[in-house]
Symmetry: C2
Subunit: 262 residues, 2 copies
């Protein structure tokens, strides 16, 4: 069964080498320029050899996309992990900056994920790509809402939802901290859009006039985002009297968090 003899290992190594070469090529010429021939050239091989590892171009692209999603999620996770005790910055901001940093460090791969879909390439609908996305989204979900109860989240101050929307959000599958009330789900989506939008604009060069200051603006936006969302979550439930309060309850104790791995 596990016939991982030299042959098997060599194959794995070769596959890895091909993926590396493909990533390298993508990093230099963009995702749209990805072609099997180019990858083969970069490896000093002929095109046909690659067909022994990937049945066609789409399969290679799929592998690259999957890996990119995973790497991005890993980067966010790593950011949160390393700065676990640095309480100067809220962990959500740290996670967001991890997202941004990865995107800036790998702009072409980020394009591969969130740019124009590749010509004649349709991502496999329910593949492992969604898995990495869920992983990442549960990180943000946790850092955004940890310390609040479901009741508090359900009472978040948002415009009134239509009942179809409420129903729809209710029945979505939950991947993060168990159940997430509709208002919290909506706020999470809003936050993701905010975060993502700033990164996309920067990586795609639409805010280049801001130069280096983008990092600072991004941090400001994320701090405000966190503050604004927390401000919408009631501190106490029973008494509707909620005085405006700058600092929402932050869980100081590093409580055990749900496992995030696959």
């Amino acid at each position: 069964m596990a016939q991982s003899s030299l042959r098997r290992r060599r194959r794995a190594a070769a596959t890895q080498e091909i993926l590396d070469a493909a990533e390298h090529h993508i990093s230099e010429h963009g995702p749209a320029a990805l072609s099997l021939r180019a990858v083969a050239r970069g490896l000093g091989m002929t095109v046909q050899a690659l067909y022994h590892y990937f049945p066609n171009r789409d399969a290679l692209v799929t592998a690259l996309v999957t890996k990119a999603y995973d790497d991005l999620a890993d980067a966010v996770q790593a950011a949160v992990d390393t700065a676990a005790d640095d309480s100067a910055l809220p962990r959500l901001v740290v996670a967001a900056e991890g997202y941004r940093r990865w995107a800036i460090a790998h702009p072409e791969r980020f394009q591969l994920l969130y740019g124009t879909p590749l010509r004649d390439y349709a991502a496999p609908a329910e593949g492992p790509t969604t898995q990495a996305t869920r992983r990442m989204s549960s990180i943000f979900e946790r850092e955004l809402f940890d310390g609040f109860t479901a009741e508090q989240l359900a009472a978040a101050d948002t415009p009134v939802f239509s009942s179809p929307l409420r129903a729809h959000l209710e029945q979505l599958p939950h991947y993060g901290l168990g159940y997430l009330p509709p208002p919290a789900t909506a706020l999470l989506m809003s936050a993701w859009g905010h975060l993502h939008g700033l990164v996309v604009l920067e990586v795609f060069g639409h805010t280049s006039f801001l130069g280096d200051r983008q990092a600072e603006i991004f941090r400001m936006a994320m701090r405000n985002l966190l503050e604004d969302i927390h401000r919408r979550i009631p501190v106490h439930l029973s008494p509707p009297h909620a005085a405006d309060q700058t600092e929402p309850p932050r869980t100081a104790a590093p409580e055990p968090r749900p496992r995030t791995g696959p």
Copy 2:
């Protein structure tokens, strides 16, 4: 000079026809698939004829990009104009929804603007594209900050700026309502990112699991955005005592606004 004889008119018509065909093709096969041959095929002409109108493919792309930026800005402007008196929805939300609606109505052209930059195509740095962007940005700027004085905006409640950032934002050219204090500029960028991010995620299919409800979530996010930003702007200046106030001062009178055209 104005030798707009039949020849001139025919040329203009033909050029327009080419652009239309190109847009049509882009709308069906995406920006990446744009080729002179394809456009020519759509027109029932041969490729070479197009070279009499556009020196090369990039020139055609540039024209399309420019037009798309203009159309987007027009759509936002139109949205604001039509719903000028419908006070049910803040005008900023109306503008944002105009942005979103255009993007959804023309996803491929939106990709052309904000997706992966096209292969081997570099947008002309300081062309008319930036002009349309400025037009649009000044709309959002107005709807976001109209009714506040520069002093109020300068005192907006944001994390402390580093002096380089402050200096940088100070010296940026101002296109909208004259001078915009650094905190307001930063908030505007943040808002643009928020708006854009939600639209990008939706148009590129990353939030398809929300289905039709995205419109409602988007509206909620934009309402909150406006509220949150206004909450950061002090109502009165001299007395630091600022009670929390749900509704910031809104200019009821349709005051004359600065010209937004070229």
